[in-house]
Symmetry: C2
Subunit: 557 residues, 2 copies
Amino acid sequence: MKSDIEIAREARMQPIAEIAGELGIPVEHLVPYGHTKAKVSLDYLQGLQDRADGKLILVTATSPTPAGEGKTTTSIGLADALRRSGRNASLCLREPSLGPCFGMKGGAAGGGYAQVVPMEDINLHFTGDMHAIGAAHNLLSAMIDNYIHWSNELRIDLRRISWPRVVDMNDRQLREIVTGCGGPANGFPMQSSFDITVASEVMAIFCLARNLEDLQQRLARIVIGQTRGELKPVTAEQVGASGAMTALLRDALAPNLVQSLENTPAFIHGGPFANIAHGCNSLIATRAALKLSDYVVTEAGFGADLGAEKFFNIKCRKSGLRPDAAVIVVTVRALKMHGGVAKEELTRENGEAVSKGLENLGRHIRNVGRFGVPVTVAINHFVSDTDAEIQLVKDYVAARGLEAHVCTSWADGGAGASALADTVAAIADTGRAQFHPLYDDEMSLWNKARTVAREIYGADDLQADKKIRDQFRQFEAEGYGHFPVCMAKTPYSFSTDPQLMGAPVNHSVKVRELKLAAGAEFLVVICGDIMRMPGLPRVPAANNIYVNEQGQIEGLF
Amino acid sequence: MKSDIEIAREARMQPIAEIAGELGIPVEHLVPYGHTKAKVSLDYLQGLQDRADGKLILVTATSPTPAGEGKTTTSIGLADALRRSGRNASLCLREPSLGPCFGMKGGAAGGGYAQVVPMEDINLHFTGDMHAIGAAHNLLSAMIDNYIHWSNELRIDLRRISWPRVVDMNDRQLREIVTGCGGPANGFPMQSSFDITVASEVMAIFCLARNLEDLQQRLARIVIGQTRGELKPVTAEQVGASGAMTALLRDALAPNLVQSLENTPAFIHGGPFANIAHGCNSLIATRAALKLSDYVVTEAGFGADLGAEKFFNIKCRKSGLRPDAAVIVVTVRALKMHGGVAKEELTRENGEAVSKGLENLGRHIRNVGRFGVPVTVAINHFVSDTDAEIQLVKDYVAARGLEAHVCTSWADGGAGASALADTVAAIADTGRAQFHPLYDDEMSLWNKARTVAREIYGADDLQADKKIRDQFRQFEAEGYGHFPVCMAKTPYSFSTDPQLMGAPVNHSVKVRELKLAAGAEFLVVICGDIMRMPGLPRVPAANNIYVNEQGQIEGLF
């Protein structure tokens, strides 16, 4: 069996100008990065505003398990299948983070015969967006401390700076640090931290900005800390950083175009975390794809309780995007885990566990329906799945009036998702989606969070200490009451306990911390321990990566 | 008077494929980054090995002063002039660092009508090389600490790790830090630091590597610290990082091609510090240029005592490059400062100060001659220079049997350096250079440093405490005795006291610290305070940078 990288190396890539040509993009509006990657000029995209949008299809999944769901693989296969059936389709995916490539083996560009390519580039530096976002973030960090070093006329409270630094690396050693040691020439000693770049608010802003001007204004509004005594919010604009940050991001903001193994156009642009941020690719890329193709397949991070909820409540709410259909990816293996089976036992047929695990799928189906978006289920096929197990899933889904299709895109590419493609396209074509966010802007911040906890997580209630409840009210007093909430919780359970798989009931969600993302325009509601800086494992994948005599990278996936 | 960025924006750039075509590079060997930047494929360059080399011309300067010398501007003007005269010429320059762009106003891509373009790109992210170097460096940092976190079987001494982290930002707050706070999950608490990316040994290695294989081997040999008790050196290979670091650098290692305002081909690739590293662009770029053009103009950092000495003793020694001619850039203003005049008085005619300051030029002329390379002097012209002052310089140079030419490339581009170009080309054509390094590989490390101090700096002697002298011997015992030395001292004086301008005598050079660069293959001999992480000024340039409504970057230079 070939590895992902072997399959990717054998890809018959078309020159990126031809991929762009398929979308009708004239070559002069491409900024090439090599021969198989390009950015599409923002000026050109601006000129498409009056065109009608294509259909928007969201791919989401059941709650993730170590068994794997294959959301990206299914997304790529679905887009390939739509294109194979003669439809004009494109993909919108997130940019992978560099750091995790060196930890666990496994890329973020699909797998098997459903990949986007050039996969090494996409997984490593790509077109430099992640580096630009990191540089913009760290410029603000340096300018805050430089401002404090020279004058601090604003009286920024050194104990209340909420803007960390970032690096695109899994580096646990930087989770908690003390900076400014060594005397007055090196600044004031302060407690600080590094997050991984994708956790930066700059990334979230980058992905929600409508254009360069909006980006610059949002960056200006970032709140980096509070003043001493009065606790007034201090912004990036007040330390004079937002213009230069925008300059660093100017080129990156144009969306990246690549292709799948089957030459389907793929926009891969922006990749925020799906817990402390909203977990989907850039609005600019999604809008571009909708103007340039009839069907756009996109995905959101983690399970539908996190990624899809935020896609709907944050990205679609703010931008006016109206999704036409949703696909929930499920695997028999994952259902067994939700049904209580250990990882080692997954290859053994176990209809009982599948049936029990279907509760998880069921709640995600119900949830997505609450946004008015019609659902189809994709069963991402593994060789160990039995016909009986698959039939259980199909019957369960059919009982809810929906269709489930087996997808074999990992093994067969677009050919493995043709039934899914036909169903989804037919649903999208009917225009029967009636998308609406789950809550209105006017609802109180507390009630927004409570609505998500009850309606999506199935919790009895939302809980918080008085201090946190006061903070909710404080943010409303400061004028942020119209923001949506961005819930940060474990992806492994509907509850805040990662061990509670399936569809837990009788649980309540406790808010531990609030974090304002004033530039991204949401309030992060943190429920549980959220890791913003991963570590490397005992034997990191990096140990086995090298460049061979032909100049090829070995050991990367 | 137009600003640099206004002039740069009006540039009539040719498509980079045409610039490459002028050098005979077929378009299929270019990796485009937009339409005016490209990398040249390493495979293609490998195939040129049997071609004869062009002539190599080094541009260096007197000891830098706040008055400015204009080495890059003169280099660009000289290359443009060579090309205007019908000669096949190209440029080799260093890549600018991102961080300083946000501190003091002023780019590193020439000035006036002698610039390389696209200047905003070159000064900001360019083709991502600096980011790749930073990522490779920080991957090693993360892997060292991860190795210690999980096992530390090698017994790396946590107090003796000499590998910092890097960021391409002026951020004094990170000069001295404590990492690993917050308990066992976050690693061991350690003292650590961040350098600016250009100070990384990875940058030095990148610039001295002959090819990808050599790069990987050099990265493997990086010494990151010592074992506990036995104090054995620990390498990047031992923590399993060097292969993955090479993977991160693979694409970056291909040299970048851009152009001057006058469309002269310019390779801009690699940019190490000129104090703790060797201060010139990549060997791969220089070799490529020599294979592809008849005349190659390159520059080295700071004054000739630092940049040229290292260009000769480190880069040329190891690679077999044989420079054919050298240009020493001088300004009347700088000579006045070396003659004792304050910055505020520089526009007033002062022949006496010029004459006194010429001692500095004289010693640099003598020094470059010691390497067997014929010298020409370029007087970079400022409007306040008087004819009488310029005549003093010309007479002084003529008395040494050399020529000095006034250059007005800042105002006139290549037309302002035609006399210089004719002289330098004529010298190079005679083949009369008899290049040789200043010392042999076999000389002891101490004597190598002493030779530079005496022959180049004009010092009476080299001094060091017993501890340092023992370290010199220790490095020899460990097998590094054949390395050249990389002297790190202030660029502002031949001595280690930045206040001693002109050509100080009766001074001695004290070694304060040694740092082995086992992958770069030199021993850094630190004489004085060397800043590896700059800070931002009270009013950083970033305060005035923004993106205007046309999407152009304002305030950057």
